[in-house]
Symmetry: none
Subunit: 236 residues, 4 copies
């Protein structure tokens, strides 16, 4: 069955000009990325365990064995995937947060804006975190990698931003750690849940923007320094 298909694929040079006998030899340097791209899509669509190396190979137009020329094992592909997607992005977000001066809410607004843009440009931007949360429970290495590359970089940067904001009086003094989680929590939840549970597909791309706007509105008021009119109780 398979090699019958393979046989047919021999003739796929038909539309190609016969001037050169070369079948379209793709550059081998591109191979790892092609494998990773395919794997990402498959992992997201079916989950890591349900995806076979054979499928990945087919998607990357390679033989099963060839995949193992580039990655030592199937888990290794997952790891490489996370590593590729996560590092630069976390670095960028963290440095953005660190460099900001002034009201943290403005920094957050800008950050969310940038992230939205990136998400529209690069499909995998939104995919990889979802993959991570799905697979991390059964793959300690993925969890560790994400911990080291993202959480350890972004969370402290965000907490530092908030701390500076509190110190300068831009926002009210609260538990910094927990505040950080309240700030990004809705976005994380949206990222992780919206597609899996198919939450309100009708609004499409706009949805993320609306969520960000609402969250920023709440935060602006919610984090603003107490005013004399406030009579809302804190934790009792």
């Amino acid at each position: 069955m398979e090699h019958a298909t393979a046989d047919n694929s021999k003739h796929r040079a038909d539309s190609k000009a016969k001037t050169t006998s070369k079948p379209p030899r793709r550059r081998p340097e591109a191979r790892p990325d092609e494998i990773l791209d395919t794997a990402l899509d498959l992992f997201l669509a079916q989950g890591f365990h349900r995806t076979t190396v054979e499928q990945i190979a087919r998607g990357a137009k390679l033989s099963k064995g060839a995949v193992y020329l580039y990655f030592a094992s199937k888990p290794d592909i997952l790891l490489a995937l996370v590593r590729r997607a996560v590092g630069a992005m976390a670095e960028r977000a963290a440095s953005h947060l660190r460099q900001h001066q002034g009201d943290p809410c403005l920094a957050l607004r800008e950050l969310f804006h940038v992230l939205t843009k990136l998400a529209q440009q690069d499909q995998s931007f939104a995919k990889v975190p979802r993959l991570i949360i799905h697979e991390a429970p059964s793959s300690p290495e993925v969890a560790q990698l994400y911990r080291d590359e993202v959480i350890a970089k972004v969370l402290p940067a965000l907490m530092d931003l908030l701390e500076r904001g509190m110190h300068a009086g831009h926002i009210r003094r609260l538990d910094v750690d927990m505040t950080a989680r309240c700030v990004i929590g809705p976005l994380m939840a949206h990222l992780l849940l919206s597609e899996v549970f198919d939450l309100r597909p009708q609004s499409g791309e706009l949805e993320l923007q609306r969520l960000i706007d609402t969250q920023l509105t709440i935060l602006s008021a919610g984090l603003a320094p107490r005013q004399e009119g406030d009579h809302v109780s804190g934790p009792h």
Copy 2:
């Protein structure tokens, strides 16, 4: 039941199709619950795919074959598990939200309080949602079930609460849908992420309480009706 059958009949073969045509095999008695208890523990500890039917049978002190007397397939066990764990809880939360009169923030405070209590009593309370989020991508049935049993019940109730709060002037008027997500987002994110990524284990049980307190504080101010001093821009 009917739509469950419809769902299952999709699943990869017809493992479920028989269930209805099966002779009355004493489905739901003491034995099934023992199987589900064992399965829950194993799924949580190792994930669905890494858990074998053999292990479940051993844990329930049954033979492998006997498990198939009570459940048509392995995915079916997962489904029953989710169904059992999720329904009552969602129902309770939704009715709590619906019955509340007055400031929604107080309702949320009470709801969060109740949930925290439950989480302390029942370990699996916090774990089942994580199991769901982990398995949903590879199991449309689980996603559907969660959608039907939880999201379809709790989210509208929460939105209704907020809508009533806005109408009564307790909270400011915002996009109701997105506000609901901002309200529960941090809790969802915490639930899903904290254990997997081992976020700050040092603070232990208190952590959840601190998160809730911080979130409520932010929401109280963030959702409060605009006062004359406010000059923070909404979405531009």
Copy 3:
């Protein structure tokens, strides 16, 4: 081997009466031995590495998966094979040597006689040692097993016999350890080499007898206490 043959002679369905709908359900207790018998033949014919589990399963009239109900891995089959064949035999040989009184050459004659008889009765008697020597170099566990079960039992018993013979003046005093090896060396070499290298197949069964006779003749004189006429030099 023998009872395997008996099993195989079971007319699978052909001559069986159709009176019972039961296919001939073989007793599962016999399964491990059937697998081992088949594996022994295959390992000897093709070597351990060239033999597939599939082949073993086919030979034992089982599915590939069923083999793993009885043995944890392919190497485990090899090990069980050696274990099954080797223990009792070594015990018997050793106790025979230990119980003997008087001239060691007579004990050897009897031992060789018994071994020859056994070899004629049980085909696998001669096969297993060959399997061991073939596979031990790539399987430390097999080597270890053989060391523990055979060498550690038989060699000391043989050395003890010789030592007693020297002490009583039946045989001349020589390096006991090396003498033991000279005594059994030709037999070992024959066992290991004759079939592989197809040495003189024409003489068949008689060959082993002739070798034993010649070796005993040489040993009788070679080990006899020095006589006055001897002028042969020892090691210089």
Copy 4:
């Protein structure tokens, strides 16, 4: 293209058949020997099947593909190895035996002495036979080669030596064939078994010498012409 396909369909049985019909590929020069040296080391250390062509190529500082410029297949390498190692040695031993005049025991002493020297000089001297005995069962070609190159040369020479010794009255008349095996059996057994089963590693290099001395002592007396005092029975 066509004949490649044809080749593959056969494989496993005719890898050798091609070797002779191949275009003159510059078989035996410097490179082949480097490959064989590396292969020998690896085969001895890991066995034939556990050694990959990749490893051989790396060891010979060549690409995997280049190995196939010099050898038609992996089994072909083993064959060439045996051929190279075995021929000259057997020739030397045989001619030594043939040229000897007088008491065969003296010839054997000298032969054993020479072999011991060689074994000390060249580590692989003792190892190649072990490789052969290990691989011969799964490789008829290796067995055949060893039969042709060693057994067919050395055994007749040894038998001839013994025959001449019997004729001249130096040793007693016995079954020549079996006597030859009794003479070299202990040495063969030692060669094949001692390292695999790790027999008495404490005595180290001396061990071989002690075995030879003991064996020669036994043979000198055991093969000596009958004296009047002898009353030991031959085969009954």
